[in-house]
């Protein structure tokens, strides 16, 4: 090593500080692996030809007497710095600094966490939006009686409205009164009735759940599917409240630029009834494949609670308390809404086959990791 020995012209304190700062930088700049640690040590601390020894010999030789002590202190500090650097290099695990020792391009090894089901994730998101609007979760059974699923919701026996909801019936019901016959609930709406019978207004509930219909499975139909239902009953609830609530909820779910559009529709348990469309979240209304080039996507059904439903509830409540009048339609009003979770999740994620939700196919689920 034929490095030059730096010259020291002045021995005043600022000159000494400047000279030693240059040397300290030199030490810091010299990076080395543990394998090179010994070479580094010899270079700086070698007993005969070490750079520290050479410099100290040269500078001390020509130093005035009163500069020897400040020089000695500074040489000791520099030596400590070199020793600390050496100790750190030796303590570091070899692999971490062996530049060529590890193929960091190999995959990592931790087991991936499980994947939340995209359908249930969407359902939980919808429910959370309504929690934020002051709705509490209510749940109900999947096996329901004809009364809760149909009669109390103004689907009289033998009424054509029942044709729209092909129903899976439980065996062994023929001998029972028609209102007690058990079936798989075709919608989450029976929970409206159960909640109102149990509790006086005001009501704000959101009802997530599984429902069943006697529908053959195809790409967009499944005999099992999920709904989220909502019910708001209070004094002074209006159709414009229904509009505002669902407009707010759709914006919370799909983004603030989403627009809603309401169409008259028919459900036996609401009046007026409406279908709700949102502006297409993919093309912002311009028209694309996902919205069938209409610019709109139909997402839910809703309406003001039909007074007949309040009458059914009152009739049941009067079996417990003959004076019950909390659901007098002259005093209160309300709205209800319901949406198919599968449909919303399919729109959100561009899923074309509803059956994939129930297959447990890891290749399908891994897309949502």
């Amino acid at each position: 090593m034929n490095e030059t020995i730096p010259q020291l012209l002045n021995y005043d304190e600022p000159s000494l500080d400047a000279a030693f700062a240059t040397l300290a930088d030199e030490v810091r700049a010299e990076t080395f692996s543990p394998r090179d640690a010994e070479a580094f040590r010899l270079h700086w601390l070698g007993r005969k030809q070490g750079r520290l020894k050479l410099i100290s010999d040269a500078w001390l030789k020509s130093a005035p007497a009163d500069a020897r002590k400040p020089l000695g202190i500074r040489f000791n500090q520099l030596k400590q710095q070199i020793e600390v650097a050496l100790a750190a290099a030796v303590a570091a695990p070899p692999a971490a600094s062996a530049k060529a020792g590890l193929d960091i391009t190999l995959p990592g090894s931790v087991r991936a966490p499980g994947i939340p089901h995209p359908l249930l994730k969407t359902m939980n998101e919808i429910v959370a939006v309504f929690h934020d609007l002051g709705y509490s979760t209510a749940l109900g059974p999947q096996v329901e009686s004809d009364f809760y699923n149909f009669e109390a919701l103004n689907f009289p026996p033998n009424h054509p409205a029942r044709d729209t909801q092909d129903t899976l019936l439980l065996a062994g019901q023929q001998a029972r009164p028609s209102r007690d016959r058990l079936l798989m609930r075709t919608h989450t709406s029976p929970v409206q009735i159960r909640s109102m019978i149990a509790q006086a207004p005001p009501i704000r509930i959101v009802v997530p759940g599984k429902v069943h219909r006697n529908d053959a499975a195809d790409a967009t139909h499944s005999p099992v599917f999920h709904q989220v239902e909502g019910l708001c009953v209070d004094t002074g609830i209006t159709f414009s409240d229904l509009k505002g609530t669902l407009d707010h909820a759709m914006k919370a779910l799909f983004g603030s630029s989403v627009k809603t559009r309401f169409f008259p529709s028919f459900f036996p348990f609401t009046e007026p009834s409406a279908d709700v469309q949102i502006s297409c979240i993919f093309c912002a209304g311009a028209g694309c494949r996902r919205c069938k080039h209409s610019g709109w996507i139909e997402l839910l059904g809703c309406g003001m609670v039909d007074p007949t439903v309040f009458s059914s509830v009152t009739e049941e409540r009067r079996k417990l308390n003959p004076a019950a009048d909390a659901y007098n339609p002259a005093k209160i009003s309300g709205f209800a809404f319901g949406m198919g979770v599968e449909r919303i999740a399919m729109v959100q994620h561009g899923i074309s086959d509803i059956g994939q939700f129930y297959s447990g196919d890891m290749r399908f689920l891994e897309q949502f990791a």
């Binding site: 096996v143 409205a161 899976l168 002074g236 159709f239 414009s240």
Partner: protein
């Protein structure tokens, strides 16, 4: 149902909107146009309609034209007819409604047409049929169909010469037989309403005509029927005979009693265009009691206050002034066919003083049987005004009450996801074979029935039952993956299972875990057993979320959790277990039994667990409690022992626990060695045949002081003695 825009426009003149705008305007008023198809120059468009079940009045061109007239505030053309002069009849044609049928047939009109010519349709009928893609049959048959599509009322044309005497509307005789237009022979029930002559049934009323009296090329004389039938009766017959016809579809939704003479005349007019003449006047039999509850209902009251109370705020409202005015209500409802008179609610009040008090008495149109209450009229106002002209307002929010199970459910879900299990949803149904094989019989349900729940109308043989267990569904999902070469699968399902009886169904929350894959061995388990132990630790991890004390020494007598080698028959004996919480089974897990695996053609072993969430959720979620951490050094001591295979870990752990050394804070089996190839390499054996070597780690720590060497060696000595007493040999 399809609608021609040109046909519709023939009833409302002056619509300036083009067909696409018309379609959108109708759709926004609830008369949904699902598709618009261009029919070429001059032919207008074909609208594919989706009319809701309550709006039978709009299931035809005239009804939709009425909606268009209401939207655009234009006049609706009347349905005028001009028939040739009638020949005198010797006697009026005889029509009787039997007493027992009076409530089911509210009106029956009949007209005799003589010397008609049966010929292909021409003119407007042929033209519109061609655009609709309807198959023309003959002028007489097409006339009925044309009127149905035009103004919505079903009619029927009989070959008059096949009618014996006259018409009798009556209930069928039980067992009476009738051959229908579709060629089928039907056996009638005593509550089927029929149109009969003096000797035989001619048709099932409102459902389908009969074969013997149908119009043929030879027909010379015709009887045109237009009648009104009771919706419930028609629906019953239609369903019983599996005959859903255009006529039954309309009658069962409520037809217009007043439309009968109009429809009859329209059909007669079309048939007579090819020759012939009516004979006698229209025979029109009306049952007054039916008319009173349909066409001639009492007026209902509608108050403006109620309109505003239900509908709320519109975008057009001015401060202190709702856009929902009395004038608006009057205009909308009048256009729809209602007759409004302002009820004098308070004779002293001038009409203009307070519109809010306005109350109308509304006479309902005969074709709108769906309108019967004030709220129905409120809906009509909102519908025609336009839903999207209402403002978006928000009701006040209420405080949210958390569902009692929500926290537990989401804790279980989050834990399983963190452990690498993905969430799945399987079918709610099970086959009878799977139901019998997988029903869990060891649940604590002595008080309630726990039989299988069958469906009356299952979707398939594979779905006859409501699932009594999540296991078959999980197996189906594992098989789905294996069949697609996905060979490492971890799934869970939180779902409902169904047991009980036909009178009382018990729905219980349950959890299933499914695991298959090439798991590496661990220091304690060989590869073959690793999956069983993974499931065990998942179950322990879940239980540890709840108040159950699943402490580190889970094998100690004080622990609430124990594992028994007994398991249901669908798990492989010896490779499965039941987890008992406070002595009651809460979960079972292990490898699927061989015969089930073979039956499902699974290419590799699969492992399942089911856990009773109902029992788990009865426990509160564990509230974490911190303890003081010791400031003193912990000391680790390893021991290596050889034991006979019969000595289980629980026995070892219990023997050590029995030493009651409070400073022994942790006891871990670190590694188990077994010599797989004992026979071939006895010299290298780590443990003799029938034995295993166990590396055991003890951690000693005191919260009070630093441990001394002499007490550590005393504990080691006691520990070695205890394990030697179990037949263990310490290795050096």
């Amino acid at each position: 149902m399809n609608i021609l825009s040109n046909w519709l426009r023939s009833y409302v003149h002056g619509i300036t909107a083009d067909d696409r705008q018309l379609a959108e305007d109708l759709t926004l008023r609830g008369i949904a146009v699902e598709g618009v198809h261009d029919l070429g120059l001059g032919n207008g468009h074909l609208f594919e309609m989706d009319i809701t079940t309550n709006r039978v009045d709009a299931m035809n061109h005239y009804g939709i034209a009425r909606e268009a007239a209401t939207i655009y505030n234009l006049p609706l053309a009347p349905l005028d007819t001009a028939l040739p002069a009638a020949q005198p009849a010797p006697n009026p044609f005889s029509v009787q409604i039997a007493p027992e049928a009076q409530s089911l047939c509210g009106r029956f009109t009949a007209r005799v047409l003589r010397n008609v010519t049966i010929t292909p349709s021409t003119g407007q009928v042929a033209g519109f049929f061609a655009l609709l893609g309807s198959k023309p049959i003959s002028n007489a048959v097409d006339a009925s169909n044309f009127v149905l599509q035009g103004m919505g009322h079903p009619t029927h044309a009989f070959d008059l010469d096949k009618i014996d005497g006259g018409i009798v509307v009556r209930l069928a005789h039980k067992g009476e037989r009738l051959k229908l237009l579709d060629g089928s022979e039907r056996t009638l029930e005593a509550d089927d309403l029929v149109i009969a002559d003096h000797t035989k049934a001619l048709s099932i009323a409102g459902v389908m005509g009969g074969w013997d009296s149908m119009i043929t090329a030879e027909t010379k004389n015709i009887l045109v029927e237009a009648a009104w039938f009771d919706p419930v009766s028609i629906r019953r017959s239609s369903r019983r005979h599996g005959l859903h016809t255009d006529a039954s579809h309309r009658f069962e939704r409520g037809a217009d009693l007043n439309a009968c003479p109009v429809a009859n005349a329209l059909v007669a007019e079309l048939i007579l265009q090819s020759g012939g003449a009516p004979e006698g006047e229209l025979v029109d039999v009306i049952v007054p009691s039916v008319a009173a509850r349909t066409a001639n209902r009492h007026p209902i009251a509608l108050s403006l206050r109620q309109v505003r109370r239900h509908l709320g705020t519109t975008l057009d409202d001015q401060p202190g002034q709702s856009a929902l005015t009395a004038d608006l209500v009057r205009q909308v409802l009048t256009a729809l066919g209602c007759t409004l008179t302002e009820a004098a609610t308070n004779g002293l009040q001038p009409i203009t003083s307070n519109q809010q008090q306005t109350t109308f008495s509304v006479q309902l149109p005969s074709w709108r049987l769906d309108l019967e209450r004030e709220i129905d009229l409120v809906e009509e106002v909102a519908r025609v005004y336009g839903y999207n002209r209402f403002a978006n307002t928000l009701p006040t929010a209420l405080p949210v009450i958390a569902h009692p199970l929500a926290a537990a459910e989401s804790a279980v879900r989050a834990r399983l996801l963190a452990l690498g299990y993905s969430e799945a949803i399987s079918s709610s149904f099970a086959s009878e074979a799977d139901g019998a094989a997988f029903v869990t019989t060891n649940r604590n349900q002595q008080s309630t029935p726990h039989g299988l729940i069958a469906l009356e109308n299952p979707l398939s043989d594979e779905a006859r039952l409501l699932r009594p267990s999540l296991a078959p569904g999980m197996l189906t999902m594992l098989a789905h993956n294996l069949n697609r070469d996905v060979r490492e699968v971890r799934l869970f399902e939180q779902g409902t299972i169904f047991t009980g009886s036909a009178e009382q169904v018990v729905e219980s929350p349950s959890l299933s875990l499914g695991l298959t894959g090439d798991l590496p061995p661990t220091r304690l388990h060989n590869a073959k057993d690793a999956a069983v132990f993974e499931l065990k630790s998942v179950i322990e991890s879940l239980l540890s979320l709840f108040a159950a004390s699943v402490d580190a020494l889970s094998t100690s007598a004080a622990s609430a959790l124990a594992f028994s080698p007994d398991a249901p028959a669908w798990l492989q004996p010896g490779r499965s277990a039941t987890a008992l919480l406070n002595g009651a089974p809460i979960a079972c897990f292990g490898e699927l039994v061989a015969n089930q695996r073979e039956a499902r053609k699974l290419r590799q072993p699969v492992f399942l667990a089911v856990l009773d969430l109902d029992a788990l959720y009865r426990l509160p979620l564990r509230r974490a409690a911190a303890r003081e951490l010791s400031r003193f050094q912990a000391v680790e001591r390893d021991f290596s022992f050889t034991f006979a295979d019969a000595v289980q870990w629980r026995t070892i752990a219990q023997a050590i626990a029995a030493l009651a050394i409070p400073e022994l804070t942790r006891l871990t089996p670190v590694e188990i060695f077994r010599d797989a190839k004992t026979a071939s390499a006895p010299a290298a054996s780590v443990a003799p045949a029938g034995h295993y070597a166990l590396l055991l780690r003890c951690v000693f720590q005191s919260t009070q002081r630093t441990l001394r060497e002499d007490e550590l060696s005393e504990w080691s000595t006691r520990l070695i003695a205890a394990l030697s007493a179990l037949g263990g040999t310490i290795r050096t």
